[in-house]
């Protein structure tokens, strides 16, 4: 009914409207815009050539490569997990479902430093597996495998919690139809499910990747800060900063900031494409809760 939709009065005349907008914008500028600006301004204080030198030198480049490598491993692992978990949760009924979802959310509640700590406790020299690893000359902590593990832990829930509500909202109809037409489970998954969830999938991958590449605390604990070998970009930023090499630190940081902006742009695009993604996590909680009451 066209008239009903148009009924919303424009520009609601609530008292203090302009004041509220001013306060909100001031707060956001202060806390969001200024820090972002500061990164880029500080990165360029010594000029473009210094900036370029900072981001293209071999050590910085090694950090970039390591960051990309870690993300390239961690994201696919969590992707497979996320899809499997979402399939199990969205397409089937079983007891303990909301417990499972809570467990999947656990890494969100854990401080990054503790995320690094746990792997030291497991794989460090004095850890549970320390002896075993030493005998076999396998380095996990203070080496790339440790960084990968810590990153996987920290980014564990991202893809699952985006996919679960998306798949729950889509229900089982499409899959059941495909099966009734003779498709196998795998065919159904590839041809029917996957295309349906692709935007949610991309969204989860985007967020997972951003966190994976930007993770600092957990990786810092686990990596040993070995320059050129176990430094990711965030760690490299810290090292340069602690050496008072501010311009270079901000230069590397600016690359990460650009990544963040790209992530935000991608996020906005995907939310525009599939508006349900905006409130995905909340819907997941509410729906499972409703099913269980």
């Amino acid at each position: 009914m066209a008239a009903a939709e148009l009924r919303r009065p424009a520009g609601r005349a609530e008292p203090g409207r302009l004041l509220l907008i001013a306060v909100a914008l001031t707060f956001l500028v202060l806390f969001l815009v200024l820090p972002l600006l500061a990164v880029f301004v500080q990165a360029l204080t010594k000029g473009i050539s210094a900036y370029w030198a900072a981001v293209s030198n071999p050590i910085a480049w090694a950090a970039v490569k390591l960051t990309l490598t870690v993300a390239a491993i961690a994201v696919p692992f969590n992707l497979v997990f996320g899809v499997a978990a979402a399939w199990a949760i969205a397409k089937f009924e079983f007891r303990g479902k909301s417990t499972l979802i809570t467990l999947i959310d656990l890494p969100f509640a854990v401080s990054p430093v503790i995320a690094g700590l746990i792997f030291i406790l497991l794989f460090g020299a004095h850890g549970w597996f320390g002896g075993f690893l030493r005998v076999h000359h396998i380095r996990v902590v203070f080496a790339v495998p440790g960084i990968v593990l810590a990153t996987i832990f920290v980014t564990f829930p991202f893809i699952a919690r985006e996919l679960i509500p998306v798949m729950q909202a889509q229900g089982k109809d499409d899959e059941e139809t495909a099966l009734s037409l003779g498709a196998t489970g795998w065919q159904t998954f590839w041809r029917v499910t996957l295309p349906n969830i692709r935007w949610g999938l991309m969204y989860g991958v985007l967020l997972c990747n951003a966190r994976a590449m930007g993770e600092f605390g957990a990786v810092s604990v686990v990596s040993g800060h070995i320059r050129g070998m176990t430094n990711t970009m965030p760690l490299q930023v810290e090292i340069l900063y602690n050496e008072y090499n501010y311009a270079a630190a901000f230069a590397v940081a600016s690359l990460l900031a650009l990544l963040a902006l790209l992530t935000l742009a991608g996020k906005s695009f995907l939310e525009w494409r599939q508006p349900e993604l905006r409130h995905a996590a909340r819907q997941a909680r509410d729906r499972t809760r409703r099913e269980n009451t």
């Binding site: 499997a84 656990l106 401080s111 746990i118 004095h126 832990f153 605390g217 965030p234």
Partner: protein, 292 residues
């Protein structure tokens, strides 16, 4: 070591294969099995290592470690600063969410997307950026210095960093609730004679406060564990401006595993308690209002 994982597995009963009341899609065993294995290996077992290591200390030793002055100071600082930051975020987050949902102004969509910046920006980048801003010679630091206020390298700087980190939680939790507010209910209040303030206090706010509490709790929980954005702007001086996560790292570097795990246990217990609290809160809010 495997007991914790085993306990979790037992609480998830899988339906017997033959007990099908309706058609089942394939892959349940495979996906659930993989999920449980992956979850146990990467999350449950590693986390249990912290608790088990701590239990190995014995209660008395644990208590001694945790109540050491430096540890207590760091915990007080972490929790205290997080609390203040979360409260700031509740107040301003409400204003921001309100403005974004109910008003129109130029660049609104751009600003809305920017609210997620603290989620997307690596914490180390945020850390050095905030430090650059609030250091005595920074853009804001200079201005604050003329007022006699120093932010960087003090607990105040920690609060600023934690406010940054927690900003999106309150806003994003509130936005869907504000969007779902029934306009007709507000109009009904107006036809019954309520002023704008009365309508806000009696009709809108009661609908909001579960989300406000949730946003507060999320912001608080995230802030307590925060490391990267804080260590640059904090002074990191023991007993004064040293946050708990930093103390864990320091103890690790000194091979004081007992100390590190003890603090970690405290923080984990607290985080889990908050998570359960949030879950319970939402369960209660949903049941009371019958869902939407």
């Amino acid at each position: 070591m495997a007991t914790l994982a085993a306990v979790e597995l037992k609480s998830l009963k899988m339906p017997a294969a033959k007990r099908r009341t309706r058609r089942q899609l394939p892959g349940f065993g495979l996906t659930l099995g993989y999920t449980m294995v992956y979850l146990s290996l990467l999350v449950l077992i590693p986390l249990s290592a912290v608790f088990i290591r701590s239990f190995g200390l014995g209660w008395d030793h644990f208590w001694d470690v945790v109540t050491a002055p430096r540890v207590m100071a760091s915990l007080r600082l972490s929790f205290g600063a997080s609390l203040i930051a979360a409260l700031i975020n509740v107040v301003f987050g409400l204003i921001v969410a309100w403005v974004l949902v109910r008003y129109a102004f130029p660049f609104k969509r751009l600003i809305d997307a920017m609210v997620d910046l603290p989620f997307a920006l690596p914490t180390a980048v945020a850390g050095i950026a905030l430090t650059a801003l609030y250091a005595p010679n920074g853009w804001l630091g200079v201005w604050l210095k003329s007022w006699g206020i120093q932010v960087a390298f003090t607990p105040l700087g920690i609060v600023v960093a934690l406010t940054f980190i927690g900003l999106p939680f309150v806003v994003r939790t509130l936005q869907p609730v504000l969007e779902d507010l029934d306009k007709e209910v507000e109009q009904a209040a107006a036809t019954l004679g309520a002023s704008a303030a009365q309508a806000f206090a009696r009709v809108i706010l009661p609908a909001l406060w579960p989300a406000l509490l949730t946003g507060f709790a999320l912001s608080f929980a995230r802030a307590v564990g925060e490391y990267g954005s804080v260590i640059f702007i904090a002074g990191n001086m023991p007993m004064k401006s040293e946050i708990a996560p930093l103390l864990i790292v320091t103890k690790l570097e000194q091979y004081d595993f007992a100390g590190a795990t003890a603090i970690a246990v405290i923080m984990l217990v607290f985080s889990f308690a908050i998570m359960l609290g949030i879950n319970a809160l939402q369960h209660w809010a949903l049941s009371r209002h019958g869902g939407r």
